[in-house]
Subunit: 218 residues, 2 copies
């Protein structure tokens, strides 16, 4: 059985792999895990020994099939627990991350499969991210950045890329949440800021904000 720490490393590597197709660098993992590069090297060596990553000195790491399977199972647990917290315990979607970070390490396949059933086999979590099924299959999502929409197009907000507290608070203040329908009214050519309509209100957002809002086009 793996430690919390090992599971967290596998999860981090998985997420980084999805962004860059090449090997995952020590530094990238260190940044994601908020730890030191030397600690990452130690852990990569250990995970390589356990055949969970393929690791070449100075060349970074990639998940093995087994490592990927474990990473996905942790992500499945994380997203199902987030769904539980929001849908059953009425947390708001920006409060649940830290608790789900703990719950994702609970070991019991039976538990997580029953939780899945109890929630009605949800396809996406409260942030709009897809929930892997029992066999590790993940439904592909057509998500594009809000900044890729053209004037008059609209989308449903499905994912927040930057999940820093500051950004989550900003969204909350502006009443922007997962599921919101957002229409692009006008794009300012000078700084790419965007005038959008959310519900009945019009709002100006920066390009940076628009890059961190992923929508499903409708």
């Amino acid at each position: 059985m793996l430690s919390f720490s090992e599971e967290n490393y596998l999860k981090a590597i998985y997420h980084i792999e999805k962004l860059q197709s090449n090997g995952v660098s020590t530094n990238a993992v260190a940044e994601k895990m908020d730890t030191k590069a030397s600690s990452v090297t130690d852990m990569l060596q250990k995970l390589a020994e356990k055949r969970l990553v393929i690791y070449k000195k100075y060349k970074g790491a990639l998940l093995s099939a087994k490592g990927k399977e474990i990473a996905i199972s942790v992500i499945r647990k994380h997203r199902l627990w987030e769904s539980f917290l929001v849908n059953k315990l009425n947390f708001s979607w920006d409060e649940v991350h830290d608790i789900a970070e703990q719950l994702e390490h609970i070991q019991s396949d039976e538990l997580i499969n029953r939780l899945d059933a109890y929630l009605g086999f949800p396809k996406v979590d409260p942030h709009g991210d897809p929930i892997p099924d029992k066999d590790g299959n993940i439904a592909k999502q057509e998500k594009i950045k809000l900044s890729n929409l053209k004037e008059t197009q609209q989308g449903i907000l499905v994912t927040i890329k930057d999940s820093s507290d500051d950004f989550l608070r900003y969204l909350d203040k502006k009443s922007i949440s997962i599921g919101s329908t957002i229409k692009v009214i006008a794009i300012e050519p000078f700084d790419k800021s965007i005038l959008v309509k959310i519900g009945k209100k019009e709002l100006m957002i920066t390009e940076n904000v628009a890059n961190n809002l992923l929508v499903k086009e409708i």
Copy 2:
């Protein structure tokens, strides 16, 4: 913040304290935790340093007010999670212990209080044990051993003292479960075995079994 291990020690000491009013011995803790006496000594010294137990060399340990508070909060979490697993996810009450042992260490007051509300503020868990409230108050339960009942008396099974797998399987096979109404038909003077009636069936149980079934007299 305390480690899982520290929390488990506090919980073990709490349970042992309830049985013997004097100081909790190193050996008693070692047996309960399935570890070595020397490991217990190490931990008691650490917990004493953190003012969570009062510890005197060779004299055993007692929980401080703070230590007791933490122990009770862990027990509250354990019992609420067991209630969730049984009442919402349809686990049977003999399957939930190991999962609850993990869930009891999740850190979030908000989570546990919302879970409590979601479950309807239950007073007892699926084993019949009382659930401490948010402030650490535990309702007293009038529980007596089935072996203390006299002929013709009856009780509702509220707690299983011995929770070994073998015993739980025995009870399952005999269809004895928390909430069962048990009537004492006759007591054999020779070996104190008891003829009981559970539902419509009569059944002979040994004194040992009767000592491990705690009932609320009705």
